[in-house]
């Protein structure tokens, strides 16, 4: 197909029709994504409080106050710690489980269901179960740990352990989901490649994994990593149900602080500024991961 000369009447007609067909989608993008984003950014430069009549423009004061705010700094640190713990375990754990489950033949479905169950359950309902399990006197976990010689540990109410406990629950939820994605990726790898690799001398499982499986799972791994990062960054429901940010603020995360500022304290301007920061973090991380991983991913 040879491209038509630009400026010819036919090209102009096509361009016009193209624009007309694209317009509804463009309009929707503007109305439901870009316009609210613009409002958000504008709001973040005001001192708007829900219900107030007067609104003042305060420029970047919200951002300055935020980075000076110890509560915000703490929530930022907690969020990064949480992500740093959850992300690798959820991705590599998901991969490991997928490899093990994939090798099963008759029991595969059973394991799939077992690992996928946490994904299908509502986290808020499950959090209530966790609350009972981790109850220091009524639940089974504290006595179990004591019997194992760890002493009396209250996983949810001890500031040293609370964030780690939430992270474990986050992993418990993510692993099953990631496993399903990896299983799909594994099923898509052609058998012939393993046979070819075997002919070329890849005799051991580790060889086959490193030469065939891992490279071909590249696109899946990238997708899993990006979605897991976003999910971990947005940790919220377990915090609300199990700890409300406590004890001593050790489980306050970005999204939870944002919710408090906007919907409990009604400081809309400040909450908007936080949302912008969260958005920048998430977008930045996703782009970074995409860039780095893109170079190493082979799309078959």
């Amino acid at each position: 197909m040879s491209p038509r000369a630009p400026g010819s009447p036919q090209a102009r007609t096509e361009a016009r029709w193209g624009a007309i067909f694209a317009a509804p989608a463009l309009l929707l993008i503007v109305v439901i994504l870009l316009a609210p984003l613009a409002v958000l950014v504008a709001l973040s430069a005001t001192d708007y409080r829900l219900g107030a009549i007067a609104v003042r423009m305060i420029g970047l004061d919200n951002y300055a106050a935020m980075f000076a705010d110890p509560v915000f700094q703490r929530s930022l640190r907690n969020t990064f710690l949480y992500v740093a713990f959850v992300l690798p375990v959820a991705v590599f754990g998901g991969l490991g489980v997928a490899l093990l489950v994939h090798a099963r033949i008759r029991t595969r479905t059973i394991y799939e269901v077992i690992y996928f169950l946490p994904v299908t359950s509502t986290l808020v309902a499950m959090a209530t179960v966790w609350q009972f399990m981790l109850h220091p006197t009524l639940g089974p976990v504290t006595p179990l740990l004591a019997d194992l010689g760890f002493g009396r540990i209250d996983l949810l109410n001890d500031p040293d352990f609370a964030l780690g406990t939430l992270a474990l629950i986050g992993i418990w939820q993510l692993i099953g989901f990631n496993m399903v994605l990896f299983l799909a990726g594994l099923s898509a790898i052609p058998r012939e490649l393993y046979e070819a690799a075997a002919l070329d001398g890849a005799r051991y499982g580790a060889d086959r994994f490193l030469r065939v499986t891992w490279p071909l799972l590249g696109p899946t791994t990238m997708f899993v990593t990006v979605t897991s990062t976003v999910t971990a960054f947005k940790v919220f429901d377990t915090v609300v149900v199990l700890t409300r940010g406590g004890p001593l603020g050790s489980t306050e995360t970005l999204l939870y602080i944002l919710y408090l500022e906007g919907f409990q304290y009604f400081r809309m301007g400040y909450a908007a500024a936080m949302t912008v920061v969260l958005l920048v973090f998430l977008a930045g991380l996703s782009i970074l991961q995409a860039r780095v991983l893109e170079r190493k991913v082979h799309y078959a």
């Binding site: 109850h135 220091p136 409300r244 603020g249 304290y265």
Partner: protein, 431 residues
């Protein structure tokens, strides 16, 4: 003039003819009031009260909006409604949110002063129905914006079996905090796996219980004009010292509020302090495990001490005259003895109406339900649930963290109190 529903139920015509004064029936076209309240479980009394109200006032229909989970979210929904002009005609605002709501709406001219309406009921009506302390709970900056509907102050819940095992007398609950702590310590020794006392200001969902500990000792959180923090005094220090002693002497562990209630219900805590509005919930949790008992909140300063009052007040936001008149009828009925009887029997709240305690209303109920009586016994101790202004919830979170540090022993009570005062003052001034 009948609505379809009244025709269907067949009650409309009869009631209209029999009970309504002729001039009122002639003057009033049917009005539907748009009402919103918080806490889904409250439908248990809001619905029957509305039914009784419509029986008495057939021309007014009550339409409830979607129920809102709690007072803070109700507050938020109302503020949104104020912006979009979609306020309900009547709402029931939490006492701790009322000042903020009234000030915001008064500035926008979207709330009405109930003072003139009360005055129009006659000179003695107010004093016959309400104690001045109770009415004062609905006042903001001296104006009666709210009509107290539900009221409660914290009470003690205790496990008489644990008390008896510790050598205490289940029929004589201590009326001083030294007594409570001594009893808690004995319970801890008698049942080492249990907590003697749990006073969970480290995880309670508002600052209500902390205010109670200060106010019972004669302290106040704020000066009378609400501008200066005043709990940095001896009463405040006594309160934070008590908080630490619950941990050191009574074996209290710092766990969540719900976890506390669960553990208490299984016999793992001797004494807890909570809202009487939770009486039916806690009774249900306990089931038949032990004969649950309650007691009034111990008060150290018998002269000036008191307890902060939780609950809610009816607020009228209707715009046109006919609706305002109908709304006042509904609010008046809700604060009246019959409606109060219904609300109290369903929850454990205090009646806000003086006449509700009479023999034809709640008299026999209290005889049959002694656990509900504790709240009523301290009705004359009611003090306002003090409000720090727009930053109230933020101040509560900051205070809770410092209180947790004091209870853990990370901060001494003296240093902790100084930090409490300093941070509260700073946050009150903050934007």
């Amino acid at each position: 003039m009948l609505t379809r529903k009244q025709l269907l139920t067949g009650t409309g015509a009869a009631t209209l003819a029999a009970t309504l004064p002729a001039e009122r029936a002639a003057a009033q076209a049917p009005v539907t009031l748009d009402v919103v309240h918080a806490y889904p479980s409250f439908a248990r009394f809001f619905a029957p009260i509305a039914e009784e109200f419509t029986k008495a006032n057939p021309t007014i229909r009550i339409a409830f909006r979607q129920i809102i989970p709690n007072y803070d979210e109700l507050h938020q929904a109302l503020l949104r409604g104020a912006l979009t002009n979609q306020l309900p005609d009547v709402t029931f605002s939490g006492f701790n949110r009322l000042p903020e709501l009234a000030r915001t709406l008064a500035a926008r001219n979207q709330i009405i002063d109930l003072g003139p309406l009360i005055a129009a009921e006659g000179a003695t009506w107010a004093s016959e129905n309400f104690s001045p302390r109770m009415l004062a709970l609905g006042k903001v900056d001296g104006t009666q914006f709210g009509m107290p509907f539900n009221a409660s102050s914290p009470i003690a819940y205790y496990n008489p079996e644990l008390v008896a095992r510790a050598g205490g007398d289940p029929d004589a609950f201590p009326d001083s905090w030294d007594g409570v702590i001594a009893l808690g310590a004995r319970i801890k020794r008698a049942a080492p796996n249990a907590m003697g006392v749990s006073y969970y200001i480290n995880s309670f969902d508002s600052d209500w219980l902390f205010q109670a500990l200060v106010q019972q000792g004669g302290g106040r959180m704020l000066s009378a004009d609400g501008k200066t923090v005043t709990f940095g005094d001896a009463a405040g220090l006594a309160a934070v010292r008590l908080a630490r002693r619950f941990v050191t002497e009574c074996g209290m562990e710092l766990i969540g509020a719900d976890q506390n209630r669960q553990q208490f219900a299984t016999g793992g805590i001797g004494i807890i302090f909570d809202s009487p509005a939770r009486l039916s919930v806690i009774t249900g949790l306990v089931g038949g495990r032990f004969p649950l008992r309650t007691s009034p909140f111990p008060i150290t300063d018998k002269q000036n001490g008191g307890v902060p009052t939780g609950g809610n007040a009816a607020v009228i936001m209707a715009r046109d005259e006919a609706k305002r008149r109908a709304a006042w009828e509904y609010v008046k009925f809700s604060a009246g003895p019959l409606a109060q009887k219904i609300a109290v029997e369903m929850t454990g709240y205090l009646p806000t109406n003086l006449r509700a305690a009479g023999p034809e209303f709640l008299g026999s109920y209290y005889q049959q339900n002694p656990n509900a009586r504790s709240a009523a016994l301290q009705a004359d101790r009611s003090l306002p649930w003090e409000d720090y202004g727009a930053n109230g919830p933020r101040i509560h979170r900051a205070q809770q963290e410092i209180l947790t540090s004091i209870m853990r022993g990370d901060l001494t009570p003296e240093a902790g109190l100084a930090r409490l005062v300093e941070q509260t003052t700073a946050l009150m001034r903050a934007a």
